[in-house]
């Protein structure tokens, strides 16, 4: 079996589990929505200024909900020694990495598909026509987040206070992604196109490619027997 085929099968397994239990997706979705309310009470989001603040606020929401999802990422494997069973099977561990990244990515994208339009509705953002570009930038950022997030989730797997440690090691590494997505989104919302923020988009792409490759190569060593 090729790497991708293995990853695909593992991803299907995770999606099926999620479909049956819906733990992660539902908590992430409600937490994301909850954050929008918290933002409403914390900031004075008048319609004239909301477009300026939207990128930063949205990304805060995605970072927090994403971290929530990552903390649960290997939960199923931790129960009943499923991890050992998975490692005993003739799998490429890079495939495991791709599958877990893909799974978290799908969860986050599903949340984003709801939360972004909800933000537009709740805070009266007028530029509905720019949503596709906003989604594109968000998607690229989310890929970066999931790639590094999966790696960090895997190495903190056996740590004490793991839920606290994960954002501590992950967030400083995510700074290029946070900066790049927010600048790109600002540019899109201001001018209607990526234009001047093209170099940020390239940085984002570079980040995704570098750490995706590093993740697949390194994951063999991350997961020990």
């Amino acid at each position: 079996m090729t790497l991708l085929r293995q990853a695909y099968l593992l991803l299907c397994k995770d999606l099926l589990l999620e479909l049956r239990r819906r733990d992660s997706l539902l908590t992430m979705f409600f937490f994301g929505t909850l954050l929008l309310f918290v933002f409403h009470f914390s900031f004075d989001l008048v319609p004239e200024r909301v477009a300026e603040m939207a990128p930063a606020l949205l990304w805060l929401a995605f970072l927090f909900t994403g971290t929530l999802g990552l903390a649960q990422l290997f939960q199923a494997e931790r129960e009943n020694h499923c991890f050992d069973a998975l490692l005993l099977s003739p799998l490429d561990r890079g495939a495991l990495f791709l599958a877990k990244t893909g799974f978290n990515l799908i969860l986050m994208v599903l949340v984003e598909i709801v939360v972004i339009p909800l933000f537009w509705i709740l805070f009266n953002v007028r530029s509905w026509n720019l949503l596709p570009q906003v989604f594109l930038v968000t998607l690229l950022g989310t890929v970066g987040f999931c790639v590094l997030g999966t790696l960090m989730s895997a190495i903190t797997l056996r740590a004490r206070a793991r839920e606290l440690l994960l954002p501590l090691v992950l967030f400083p590494l995510m700074i290029p992604v946070i900066l790049a997505t927010i600048r790109c989104m600002e540019e899109v919302l201001r001018t209607g196109q990526i234009g001047d923020a093209m170099h940020w988009l390239r940085l984002l792409l570079g980040f995704d490619v570098i750490f995706m490759t590093a993740g697949v190569l390194i994951f063999d060593w991350v997961i020990e027997n």
């Binding site: 590094l148 790696l151 960090m152 190495i155 903190t156 056996r158 740590a159 004490r160 206070a161 793991r162 440690l165 501590l168 090691v169 967030f171 400083p172 590494l173 700074i175 290029p176 900066l179 790049a180 600048r183 170099h199 940020w200 940085l203 570079g206 980040f207 570098i210 750490f211 590093a214 390194i218 060593w221 991350v222 020990e224």
Partner: protein, 236 residues
């Protein structure tokens, strides 16, 4: 074995003494021989500590990267001990850099801290490697802790250029490099005794660094030995 240790200790002692002398000469040159800066006056002298500190910190993080890579590849404990030792000293020198920079920034820029690119980058480095040390301390199983730390040591180092790029595009206010400039040779735009002071200071810091690293490495080795002895006697 005891004899061999005495030999190692003697070499360490010599290294430590050399470091002490070099740092002392560097301080003398920086504080007394070199002239005060034409614009900034006396406060500029902090640069003789500031620049070596950050260079040492980067050297440390590079060693963390090398030790981490070697550990994942060969699984030898000594590479992990090296990475751990280098990370601790790297954090120390990064913190020193930020403190020195603050002391210099207050009279020069009027603020202790500003979100300039280089300052931000240094602060992020500190956060990454403090995270590295926390990760190590929060995993009980030593081998797992070493593996996890090695992964972070590699990923963190690979991330540095990207963080560097992003915070630079984001903003920069730090004064441009005054010594390694593209348009002039180093000795053309800086007073020669300033350059000498900086060089001596850097050598002093380098010696001090390797002295601290060797001590810290030895501590790591001794921890292993104690653990092995305890296991032998069944009291571990």
């Amino acid at each position: 074995m005891a004899k061999q240790h005495r030999g190692v200790n003697k070499r360490k002692g010599i290294l430590g003494a050399l470091a002490l002398v070099a740092v002392a000469v560097g301080l003398y040159w920086s504080l007394i021989v070199a002239p005060p800066d034409a614009y900034q006056g006396e406060v500029q002298r902090i640069m003789y500590l500031h620049l070596p500190s950050i260079l040492i910190a980067y050297l440390s993080y590079f060693l963390v990267f090398v030790g981490s890579g070697l550990y994942l590849w060969k699984r030898e404990k000594r590479d992990d001990i090296l990475a751990h030792a280098a990370a601790e000293i790297g954090v120390l020198f990064t913190a020193l850099t930020i403190i020195e920079g603050s002391i210099w920034g207050r009279p020069t820029w009027g603020v202790w801290w500003t979100w300039d690119a280089r300052l931000t980058l240094t602060a992020i480095l500190l956060l990454i490697y403090v995270g590295y040390l926390m990760l190590r301390s929060l995993i009980e199983d030593e081998q797992r802790a070493a593996t996890a730390a090695a992964v972070l040591g590699i990923i963190g180092f690979l991330d540095i250029p990207l963080i560097h790029m992003s915070v630079y595009w984001w903003r920069t206010l730090h004064q441009p490099p005054s010594i390694l400039r593209p348009d002039k040779l180093p000795w053309e735009n800086v007073h020669p005794s300033m350059l000498t002071a900086l060089t001596i200071s850097f050598i002093g810091f380098l010696l001090l660094y390797f002295y601290l690293l060797s001590l810290r490495y030895r501590v790591g080795e001794m921890r292993q030995q104690i653990k092995a002895l305890r296991l032998e006697r069944g009291t571990g």
